[in-house]
């Protein structure tokens, strides 16, 4: 839940740049134009800094970055495996 909120806030405040006032956690971030492809790179950089873990290249696939829910469940899985 906390991961979802952190990601949602980051996308809304830093990446959506006024394109949306709120983001539904299930919304398709790319298809809806909430973030652009460069936003994916910013998301990776943010995750690496915030959660102190390196996102492997092979995990940067659209399935993991499609929505806030997809990204947070990917992250929760990875962080659980790390601890």
């Amino acid at each position: 839940m906390e991961t979802q909120m952190i990601i949602n806030n980051f996308i809304l405040n830093e990446l959506a740049k006024g394109r949306k006032k709120t983001i539904n956690n299930d919304e398709d971030l790319l298809a809806e134009g909430i973030i652009d492809s460069l936003g994916i790179l910013q998301l990776v950089a943010f995750i690496e800094e915030k959660f102190n873990f390196t996102v492997p290249d092979e995990d940067v696939v659209i399935e993991n970055f499609m929505s806030v829910n997809a990204l947070s469940s990917y992250l929760d899985q990875k962080l659980a495996a790390k601890h």
Binding site: K17, G18, R19, L30, A31, E32, G33, D36, S37, L38, I40, L41, Q42, V44, A45, E48, V55, D57, V60, V61, I62, E63
Partner: protein, 368 residues
């Protein structure tokens, strides 16, 4: 690898600003000498010396900015289009194009107004060229170019996935053929009749720049294979980079002598284009930590807004220095430093302020 692309975007925008600042540094040396030396005559202050060679080499390398943007875009569009039907792809691309196109129209219009205030005039044809071909100012050509590539990207993605070597080969061939026509143009020589077919490849940026977008797409699809190939050949790549830098300088001087020009834009030469491809490949296998990485990543994230607005900022700064601090015009290194600093920080400041004021809802339409 992924994060290195954000850094590459940041390095590219720094290079773009440096490349466009050099234009004003050369203008200051060649044409504004009377502002800082009492008996200066045009061009009397810029004879070939170590410093001018330094400017040439750094200018040549900084020109990698647009190829780098295309390379990163190719990779990212590969990411975005993977597993999507053509229809789904165009839905996403449509949104992307809107956020590229509207800021481009706004900044092109601002540039046109600025030029009108300088006393220039625009015919309808010229205005059409400004918006359709990106002729508001030198760097604006990038936007119509990237939009063409975005529109082609669903097809390019499939071509690269099915026939990678053929796609890269076609990109290389198109770049080579359009590059040849540039040599005839710069030397003011008409194409011989047997080479008339080359006129098909003349003009426009799509054919000469397609390769870098295709290489970016290829890197996304065949990341592991390409990275391991490049790692095994990295010393060859470095050797070729050194060779092309030196050979590029020799070519530059030969073309200057043969054409009678004072300066040529070496970005269009084939040697320089091959150098750019090698620099991008070398970057793929380089370590990711460089000085001020995280700050440069911030530039990378804001590169489009900086790219659109820096030209006018640099020009205003250069003209202000001409009137207010003319002695700086003769201090090329300091002048370049000031122009690059202002060309980066003023757009960033404007972007930051746009987020704070009630215009935040239109931020993406101003800066992408």
């Amino acid at each position: 690898m992924i994060r290195k692309l954000l850094l590459l975007n940041g390095i590219a925008i720094l290079f773009a600003v440096y490349h466009h600042s050099i234009y004003w540094a050369i203008t200051a040396i060649n044409f504004w000498g009377h502002r800082f030396v009492s008996n200066a005559t045009p061009q009397s202050l810029f004879s070939p010396n170590l410093f001018s060679i330094f400017l040439r080499i750094t200018d040549q390398i900084a020109g990698v900015a647009v190829p780098a943007f295309l390379f990163v875009s190719g990779f990212l569009y590969g990411f975005s289009l993977n597993h999507q039907s053509i229809r789904q792809s165009y839905r996403f691309l449509q949104k992307r194009i809107i956020y590229l196109l509207i800021p481009y129209i706004i900044w092109s219009s601002i540039t046109v107004v600025f030029r009108l205030m300088e006393g220039n005039s625009y015919s309808l044809t010229k205005l059409a060229r400004v918006f359709l071909l990106g002729e508001a100012d030198g760097p604006f050509y990038y936007v119509p170019l990237i939009i063409q590539l975005i529109l082609l990207s669903p097809f390019l993605f499939r071509a690269v996935k099915e026939f990678p070597l053929v796609a890269v080969g076609i990109g290389f061939l198109l770049q080579f053929l359009s590059g040849i026509t540039w040599y005839f143009k710069i030397l003011n020589v008409n194409l011989p009749q047997s080479l008339n077919f080359l006129n098909l490849f003349k003009g426009g940026y799509l054919l000469s720049h397609l390769l870098w977008f295709i290489v970016g797409l290829s890197l996304f699809i065949y990341r592991e294979k390409i990275t391991s190939f490049l790692k095994n050949h990295r010393w060859w790549i470095l050797f070729l980079i050194a060779f092309f830098v030196i050979f590029g300088q020799i070519e530059f001087q030969l073309l200057i002598n043969a054409s009678g020009n004072d300066w040529i834009n070496s970005q269009s030469s084939l040697i320089t284009k091959w150098l750019y491809s090698l620099l991008l490949l070398a970057y793929v296998v380089m370590g990711k930590n460089i000085f001020l990485s995280s700050n440069i990543e911030v530039l990378g994230a804001n590169s489009y807004g900086i790219y659109l607005s820096h030209v006018i900022v640099i020009e205003i700064c250069a003209r202000l220095i001409y009137h207010v601090l003319p002695f700086l015009l003769g201090q090329t290194v300091i002048l370049l430093g000031i122009l690059v600093f202002m060309g980066i920080t003023i757009p960033l400041l404007m972007m930051h302020l746009s987020k704070k004021f009630p215009i935040k809802p239109i931020y993406s339409y101003l800066w992408g």
